[in-house]
């Protein structure tokens, strides 16, 4: 063999993995992938095989990703399950960081005001009726929630809303909406509660201690006991 192969196929117990080398040019890679897949063609089988594609330290644009998927799909019974790369753009990295960040704010959200954060929100203050807080992740309110809170507003169904005083006019998590009962229950104590989407796709409000079992991912603490 005159040089290392740019395309290697490995079979694992979960299916096939295509390793694409990251040092050659993209056009070279496409050409070799085309040849490789054509020669190992087993036309007899009609069972679909899913493959995972590893591209190493190569950055693929979404157009290139589509091209590769298309190329592999054309070759008989292969279906691309995922394409994984070791590299992402700075924009994606910044977005990821933002979405994993907890943004804290010490203010009152008054009627007509809207506060939106990409990640988790830690609000030290109240949300008054008519005010809205939105977060891509979870919402933690260290005051009274009397307005609207929308957690996981970009589609995260695992997001939760936690408040010291839970009297929202409306609760939204991802695309689920829940509103306060029309009759005010004055006697009810609504302190230290959380809201989450339960297994019936309904927003449920419960004591916040249940979260450690339901959403263990909220814990970010590493180590300790």
């Amino acid at each position: 063999m005159k040089k290392n192969q740019n395309v290697t196929i490995k079979g694992t117990k979960d299916g096939l993995t295509l390793h694409l080398d990251d040092s050659c040019s993209y056009s070279e890679l496409k050409k070799e992938l085309d040849i490789k897949l054509s020669e190992s063609s087993r036309a007899g089988e009609d069972r679909l095989i899913s493959v995972r594609v590893q591209v190493g330290n190569r950055y693929l644009t979404s157009v290139q990703q589509e091209e590769l998927k298309e190329l592999i799909r054309q070759k008989k019974n292969l279906i691309v399950e995922s394409i994984s790369s070791n590299v992402i753009t700075k924009e994606e990295a910044a977005k990821q960081r933002e979405e994993n960040e907890i943004t804290s704010a010490a203010k009152m959200i008054r009627s007509g005001q809207v506060l939106e954060v990409p990640g988790d929100l830690l609000l030290i203050g109240d949300v008054n009726p008519g005010g809205t807080v939105l977060a891509g992740g979870n919402i933690f309110i260290m005051g009274a929630l009397k307005g609207i809170a929308h957690a996981g507003c970009r589609g995260n169904k695992k997001a939760v809303v936690v408040a010291s005083l839970m009297k929202p006019s409306q609760l939204r998590i991802s695309d689920c909406i829940n509103r306060a009962p029309d009759k005010d229950q004055h006697d009810e104590k609504r302190e230290m509660e959380c809201a989450y989407i339960d297994e019936n796709e309904q927003i449920t409000v419960d004591r916040l201690q249940v979260l450690m079992h339901l959403r263990p991912n909220i814990t970010r603490l590493q180590g300790g006991s």
Partner: protein, 267 residues
């Protein structure tokens, strides 16, 4: 250099104009030079409440558009010797006749000559509100113990907190009916203050005398025997920096028997 205080509420009909008239009058009673400015262009009535309607020659829009000098438009209140003046709003134009920067210039000019400029703000959060707030250094938010008024007060406080030249707004709770508060049929003072989380500068009881006095064009603050009058005078004293305890809300039980019981410490 004086201070400009804007009196605002968001909602209409909670008593901004009455409060402006009475706080202004009470400050003048303390010997301060006060100028009341009505910014409710097109729907003025501070002049009516003050009883100065038929002395108006020029108005705020005339001043802004240069048709007269400021001192020509100011209406002097004869009950006070050179202490209380009113700059009336125009009745023939609307809110868009004045711009915030013109208003600010006007108020800055008045601040040279007066200790306090009391600005009566129109209801709403549009142009009229923006004009009224433009020149202000302090803000008093008026609300009544009703959910709708408190909601609008919350909105206006949010807007006021964004204004850089205005200090943290203070709250006046107007038209308190002590028996309804006691029964829990009305929001109580602590509830409202906690909800809005701003400093309370005064509470004013609902008093028929206030309406009577307004209709006669005499601010209630001039009548020392009314409860509301004392409340407005207390607000003025707090603006001047005195610390005055809040008025008790419950009516004093005036029967002789209860006084005797109180004397002996029986409840």
């Amino acid at each position: 250099m004086g201070e400009a205080i804007v009196i605002t509420s968001g909602k209409g009909g909670v008593g901004k104009t009455t409060t402006s008239a009475n706080v202004g009058t009470a400050l003048a009673l303390h010997g301060k030079r006060v100028c009341l400015v009505d910014t409710d262009i097109g729907l003025r009535n501070l002049d009516v409440v003050m009883g100065l309607e038929n002395r108006i020659i020029y108005d705020l829009v005339d001043v802004v558009e240069g048709r007269c000098k400021i001192h020509q438009a100011l209406v002097k209140d004869k009950r006070f010797d050179d202490l209380l003046y009113l700059l009336p709003a125009a009745q023939t134009s609307d809110k868009s006749a004045v711009k915030p920067d013109q208003m600010k210039k006007l108020v800055d000019e008045l601040k040279q000559d007066y200790d306090y400029i009391v600005i009566d703000c129109p209801a709403g959060i549009e142009q009229g509100y923006k004009n009224a707030v433009a020149g202000a250094d302090q803000a008093l938010v008026v609300t009544t113990p009703e959910v709708s008024a408190v909601r609008d007060a919350d909105r206006i406080i949010g807007l006021l907190e964004k204004e850089e030249n205005v200090e943290a707004p203070k709250l006046i709770i107007n038209r308190i009916r002590s028996h309804m508060m006691k029964n829990g049929d009305m929001l109580d003072v602590d509830e409202i203050t906690a909800h809005l989380s701003i400093d309370l500068i005064g509470i004013v009881a609902d008093d028929d005398e206030v309406i009577k006095a307004s209709n006669h064009g005499e601010p209630i603050a001039l009548n020392p025997n009314s409860k509301a009058s004392v409340a407005y005078r207390n607000i003025a004293r707090r603006i001047l920096g005195e610390s005055v305890p809040l008025q008790p809300l419950e009516e004093e039980n005036k029967s002789v028997f209860s006084k005797i019981k109180k004397f002996f410490g029986v409840k």
